[in-house]
Structures are given as C-alpha cells and as structure tokens.
Amino acid sequence: MLVPCLDQPGSVLLDYLSLLLPYEFSWLAILFFGTASVLYANGQRVLAQSGEPVARWRSVLFWLGLALAYIVMHTRFDYYAQFMFFIHRIQHLALHHVAAILLMGANPWRALAAGFPDGSAKRWVARLLQSPLVQWPYRFIQFPPVAVLVFAGLIFFWLTPSIHFTAMLSQPLYLLMNWSMFIDGLLFWWLILDPRSPALAGTLGFGKRILVIWAATVPQLALGAYIVGAPHSLYDIYEVCGRAWPIAPHDDQVLGGLFTWIPPAMMGVLVMVVVLRRLLHQSDNDGVQPA
C-alpha cells in the first residue's frame, strides 16, 4: 500500500503518514514507549491467561495515555510544539496532566510487573525498586509539600522567559524540559490517584490529596492568567526561531496563556471530584480495592 504512490490520493496518504514520523528522532522515546508497550501488552496477556484479566477500562486509559504522550513527543506534533508557543503549551498540558492522569488512573503496575519476563533480571529490578537508593529519593519527592513545589515549580521554571529561551535553542535542554514535565506528571498524579487505601496502606489521605491538587493548581492558574494578560511579548524565542506558520505573536501568546490556565484547572477539578467520590465512599470500600 505504501510503495510507489505517484498518483494524487497516494501522495496525500503518504503526507498524512509522514505526520506520524518524529520531527527529531529520540532513542529515549523509543526505549521508554517501546518498553512500556511491550511490558503492558505482555502483562495483559499473562493476566488474562491466569484468569485475573486487567479491567477493560483500565487498559483503555493506559493505551490512550501512552499514545497521547507518544504523539505529542515523537511525531510531527513536536515540530509544531517547537515553533508555536500555544502548541508547546498543549504539549505540556498533555505530558504534565492529561497523559499522566490517564496512565496513573490506569494503575498499570500489576500488568507491567506481570509482563516482565521471570528471571534474575526481574528479581534485580524488584530489589532495585525496593532499595534505599530508589526509595529514599522517591519518598522525598512524594512528600506532599515537595510534590506540590516540584509540580508547580517546574511549570514556572521552564516558563521563566530566559530559561525558556535557552531550552528552545538547546536540544538536550529541550528533551530535559519535556521529560521532566512528563515524569513529574506521572509521579504527582500517582500520589493523587494511588488506589491503595490511606488507612490500610498508608497512602496519602483523600482530604490531603484534594488539598495537594488545589495547592498545585492555583499557582499555574495565576501564571496562565498572567501570560494571557501580559501586554508585552514574554517569549520572543518563537519570534527569534520563526513560527510554524505566520500568526500574530500576541495571539500566539494569549492562546498559550489560555492553555496554561483553563484546561489544567479543569483537569485538576475533575481529579478532585474523583478523589472526593473516594473520600465519600471511604468507609464502604476500605480494604476492598478493585483491580
């Protein structure tokens, strides 16, 4: 189907398919998304055979989240994100909020672990994850005030005009920016969406989770509003590097501010409702967590 399509419809098809190719190829993306896909797909198979399949809605959340993160990072979308401020903001909305919430809402750990082939490598990874080397930094970053500070702080850090300027000019810094947003999103939303009971497993209490969401959302809301209202150009790197298509710089900035402001706030409220529901049903299902 893909071979010599010289006629019109064929070349249109090829044009569309080429949108799926990465703008800048990254081994990191291949390694991360490849490993996650193989482990999860294998885990789904193993668990289905063992008679304890992954709930369908959970696997749908997982694949949607993974596909979304891949699309914004490793397809033509990344090109537009590099050369249009508001698309860059959509990219970070996807990485820091939507994809991370979907992936952590899927509670993928059981399937990922089941998908890991048995053997010494699996034991070694399990030992590593339990070692103080991993556990200590993990507990530190998941300490609620730190988690809030890192979550909101990263947004402010990468949107500081001088830092944003350099990050868009340097490929290693650009990758660091995107991956730090994605990984922080996963950590933060796992803290919030961890399905284990606070009473039995010692996870963060539901009331505190709501407070954490609130504390992490408000600064971003303020920053988004500030960008929308800013009368002067804040991010002239897009002027300096050229935009993907001609658009008034101020329109780009206002749109980018809106995407920093409204959708993340909506996502925050949505997750708050989910946590609130669990808080209200706390006594009903303590200790009985659906898979």
Binding site: E24, Y79, Q82, F83, F140, F143, V146, L149, F157, T160, S162, I163, F165, T166, A167, M168, L169, S170, Q171, L173, Y174, D236, E239, V240, C241, G242, R243, A244, W245, P246, I247
Partner: protein, 196 residues
C-alpha cells in the same frame, strides 16, 4: 529534611546560571556550547554550490529571510550594515553576513546578488533547495513557513528573526535579535572578531 529544599534551590540556581551563560559581555544571548556549529550545503548568489567551508576564516553573521519581506529583513540588514560601518576600517572585512533566503521559489541567486550588494561588500546571499534549507534551519532549531497566496500570488513567509554569530572557525557564539540597535550589534560583532 530542611536542608534538601535548600540544596534543590541551589542546584536550580546553578542550572539557571549554566543555561544562561553570563560570563561573556554580549548584548545578545550567549549560545556558545548551546547551539551547534555552522554546517550547510547551499547555493551562493553567484549560482555555485557552497558549504560552510567556503566561508571559513571570517566571522559569520547568519540571518534567514526573504526578499519580499516588507520590514524585518531590510531593516535588520540595514542595521547590520550600519553596525559594520561603525567598526574600525581595518576589521570591517573580517566579518561577513550570510543572508539565507528561505523563499527559493521567488529569490533566485541573481536577484539575491543584486539585493545583498545594496547593503555592502560583506553581504552574501545564499539559498538552496527546500530540503537543504530545512536541514539547516532544523540544525539551528529554527523554522519557516509560507502563508496563503493572495489574488496576485503574493504570500507572507514566517522565518527566524535571529542573527546567529559564528567565529571564524564556525563555532556558535552569539544570538542577536533583529530589533537590537546597531550600536549593540556593533559591540557584539567587535567581540566576535576578538574571539575569532
């Protein structure tokens, strides 16, 4: 526990300093080590195939644009011309401006030659095929795009507005903005020549 947030703050501060440089006295932004060296395959305004090696030995100021550009391009080139004229007479020929047209459909080498000649002997027009230009702007982490043509077939082109300064060996040094005053440009060009 209390020392850790402090340690993080220090680490962040160090990262910021490392990112923004600050040890060189540029009026533009320091891009040494941030951006890649100069490397390209293009066509010169005399119609010859050229690479970055053709232009080694002199400090280079690279600027992307197009000839139908109503304001930014001619304004920037004019300011660069003023900035170069303000340099000491014996160093004016140590710098060259590579004006790279990203509108090869309209800007032929002959037209480019005539256009750049207007700004001074240091100005060289370059252009290339779509893929040559795409490779170069991607390397410089920049882009360009075309607007919809009007009834007369005229269209706008969005392009990078930066002036990238390279030393005589082609190492990235400074990024100037097109709206910087000529005196700032002159200052940075002089610094660039000292480092070449």
């Amino acid at each position: 526990m209390k020392t850790l947030p402090l340690a993080c703050a220090v680490a962040l501060a160090l990262l910021i300093t490392a990112c923004t440089g600050g040890d060189t006295d540029w009026t533009g932004s320091n891009i040494e080590g941030v951006m890649p060296d100069l490397e390209f395959e293009l066509t010169s305004d005399t119609g010859e195939a050229v690479t970055e090696e053709t232009y080694q030995g002199k400090a280079s100021l690279v600027f992307f644009g197009f000839m139908n550009c109503p304001d930014i391009c001619p304004g920037t080139l004019q300011r660069l011309s003023t900035a170069i004229e303000a340099l000491p007479a014996d160093s004016q020929s140590d710098v060259q401006v590579l004006f790279i047209s990203v509108d090869p459909a309209r800007d032929t080498p002959e037209k480019l030659n005539e256009y750049t000649g207007f700004f001074g002997p240091q100005f060289i027009g370059l252009t290339g095929t779509e893929s040559q230009l795409s490779d170069l702007v991607k390397r410089m982490r920049a882009t360009y795009g075309y607007g919809e043509p009007d009834d007369n077939g005229n269209y706008a082109v969005s392009h990078s507005s930066a002036i990238y300064g390279f030393d005589a060996q082609g190492n990235a040094q400074v990024l100037m903005k097109s709206d910087q005053p000529a005196s700032d440009m002159s200052h940075d060009i002089e610094l660039l020549l000292q480092r070449s």
